[in-house]
Amino acid sequence: MKRFLIIFAFFFFSCSNEVPNPASEDIFNNPLDEEEVEYDLPALTFYPVEVDVAAGTSFGVDVFALGFENLAGINIRITFDENRITSVSVIPGTIFEDAQNDPIFFSEVNAEDGWINLTASFLGSDSAAVSTTGSVAQLTFTAVATGDSKIQFGAECEMVDPDDVFLEIKGFGETNITAN
């Protein structure tokens, strides 16, 4: 009888399945999801936020501007551990791509000191601006040594509106790199 009850109980408990709970579990963790990010907006962030890579191989990290209103110019400083990773290339993002206005984009890479400067702006109409979340640049790095490191935003970052008025940057994301 006891054995029967055990089988019985097992049968019914086996019918209960796990249901994910977004309220208590960190299910929605896309760093570009404005509703879910832990920092305040507007913000600058990277995608992805975690990179596992083998030493000697390359990986891509995108720079995103989140929740900016009336954005017309960008000047961003990105820093990285030059002993662990090195910058390979910088490709302009799509945030300022517009049918009417051509954007300008400059980048400066200093792999020895571990920083990258990105400058982007609309060329043409002085009133051109965007209010969106978009990609500023696509960066490609190479892991040169094993170990953990971070790609972060420097304090020199500036975002301006068409009138060159600074827009407050309330949050900064970062990317953790694990090179094996």
């Binding site: 019914f12 019918c15 209960s16 399945n17 249901v19 977004p22 570009l32 999801d33 509703e35 995108d62």
Partner: protein, 494 residues
């Protein structure tokens, strides 16, 4: 009437056709049969056995010592056949030595015939063993010393370890004298060496008919084969041997005869026995003995009172016991219930325990067992329905879970704000569906459980009480039509 005539004509036709077929088959084997008959007759005559000398086998691809061993084993086995008079190897060697010959040098039939004449042998046997790759070939020839004609040949091809060739050589020894090799050797060839071979003599019937005794013996044989602990010699094979040796099955009742038959069959063990009847009591005496020593391995006797058909169970149990095995529970149960109950297929009395057990395995089955069809089907139907709905819920959950996984991966991979929102919505929808499906599965499985439990309890409540018939009042007042009186009776079970 017309039908009967048609059937009779059909059966006659079949019989004629079978005779024709048998004749056709026999034609191809005329020579062999003739020789076999000659050997058999000679054997039966006893004094008319042929005198045979066996040369050492020629060999190629194997060692000399191995070839000599095989030759020696062949001589031993051909002697065991009892069909010939074998000239000793020493006598053969002596003659050859006198003639200045060596066995290895006397390879021609003429030389062999010459030696055979000097030995006074009627037949000579020579043979050769060869090896090709992993296969061994053995070719043996028996020829007449007088005419030089080859009387019989036998050959075998064997693949495997060389020691396996021993069995082949032994079998060839039987075949060259026109006899069928014993079952034991054939079994050895098949690799069935672990089990003992056993033959059962028909039990002697004393006070019961021959047919009954034979039937019971048949049942014993069937049950012995069910034990899978012995290899049984077919009754037909045994009867063939008995007939060949001039015995009658019914006449071979003594231990000596049984042992002799066992030796001829080449079995390890024999079982013989008798079934007797004294008044209403039946006795079964069975003895299993080793053929090689004649010593009794096991003896069993059973005394039984009742109908003769009850002996069937007794003899089935005996089959296990004589081999030193415990009879299976089913036989014990059969014995307890009695043969008459089995014969009439009387079902066991229905019990509360039986009903509960059935409902435990399948809800409603206990009720059906207790003749409560409606409630039984109701329990069974509702249980099936609820389990079906629970399974459906689980399937829905699995589908939603797969959608959830896909949507979540898409959400995490998305970099476009609109796509992120889209996949997030899809993920949330999948979670919602998973939740609903899980609730459905859980609800209906709980309901199924409740029904299941209720079925068990209900089956216990409505099941027949097996002790009911014992609960009749011991004191009864009733009219007795025989005495035509109203009687107060008191009865109790002994």
């Amino acid at each position: 009437m017309k039908k009967i005539v048609t059937i009779i004509l059909f059966l006659l036709g079949m019989a004629v056709a079978q005779d024709d077929a048998a004749t056709g088959e026999a034609e191809g084997a005329v020579e062999k049969t003739a020789v076999q008959d000659e050997a058999t007759v000679a054997t039966k005559r006893g004094g008319a056995k042929k005198t045979v000398a066996v040369f050492d086998f020629d060999f190629q691809g194997i060692g000399e010592s191995e070839a000599l061993t095989f030759s020696e084993r062949f001589r031993t086995e051909i002697g065991n056949t009892g069909s010939i008079r074998l000239i000793e190897r020493k006598a053969l060697e002596k003659i050859m030595e006198e003639q200045g010959l060596q066995q290895s040098g006397c390879t021609t039939d003429e030389c062999a015939a010459e030696v055979g004449q000097l030995l006074g042998a009627q037949n000579m046997i020579n043979g050769s063993i060869g090896r090709i790759g992993n296969s061994y070939t053995v070719d043996i020839k028996m020829f007449s010393v007088e005419t030089g004609e080859t009387e019989r040949t036998a050959n075998a091809t064997y693949e495997g370890e060389i020691d396996g060739l021993l069995v082949e050589i032994q079998i060839l020894a039987w075949e060259i004298v026109g006899r069928e090799a014993p079952t034991k050797l054939k079994l050895q060839r098949e690799g069935e060496t672990a089990l003992s071979t056993l033959a059962v003599m028909d039990f002697e019937g004393r006070g019961i008919t021959m047919g009954e005794a034979e039937t019971l013996t048949d049942r014993l044989i069937t049950e012995l084969s069910r034990t899978k602990k012995v290899i049984l010699v077919e009754r037909g094979t045994m009867n063939d041997v008995l007939n060949e040796q001039g015995y009658e099955t019914a006449g071979c009742t003594s231990d000596e005869c049984a042992a002799e038959v066992g030796a001829l069959l080449g079995v390890d063990l024999m079982i013989s026995g008798a079934i007797g009847k004294i008044g209403n009591t039946y006795t079964i005496d069975a003895k299993m003995f080793k053929v090689s020593t004649g010593a009794a391995e096991n003896m069993k006797n059973i005394t039984y009172q009742g109908e003769v058909d009850g002996l069937i169970i007794e003899i089935e149990i005996l089959a296990w016991q004589i081999l030193g095995l415990n009879p299976p529970k089913s036989l014990i149960t059969k014995k307890r219930r009695g043969m008459s109950a089995l014969a009439s297929n009387t079902p066991l009395p229905k019990t509360k325990g039986g009903a509960i057990m059935r409902s435990m395995f399948v809800p409603g089955l206990g009720q059906l067992y207790g003749n409560h069809g409606k409630s039984g089907w109701a329990y069974l139907g509702s249980e099936t329905l609820f389990i079906g709905l629970a399974v459906m819920g689980m399937n829905n959950y699995n589908t939603a879970s797969a959608d959830y996984d896909a949507a979540l991966v898409a959400y995490r991979d998305a970099t476009d704000i609109d796509e992120i929102a889209l996949h997030k919505t899809a993920t949330n929808e999948a979670i919602s569906r998973m939740d609903k499906a899980n609730s459905m599965s859980l609800t209906f499985s709980v309901l199924a459980g409740v029904i299941w439990g209720a079925s068990v309890i209900h089956s216990a409540m409505v099941a027949p009480d097996e002790l009911a018939y014992n609960k009749t009042t011991p004191l009864q007042l009733a009219y007795n039509p025989v005495t035509k009186n109203t009687e107060l009776t008191f009865n109790f079970s002994l």
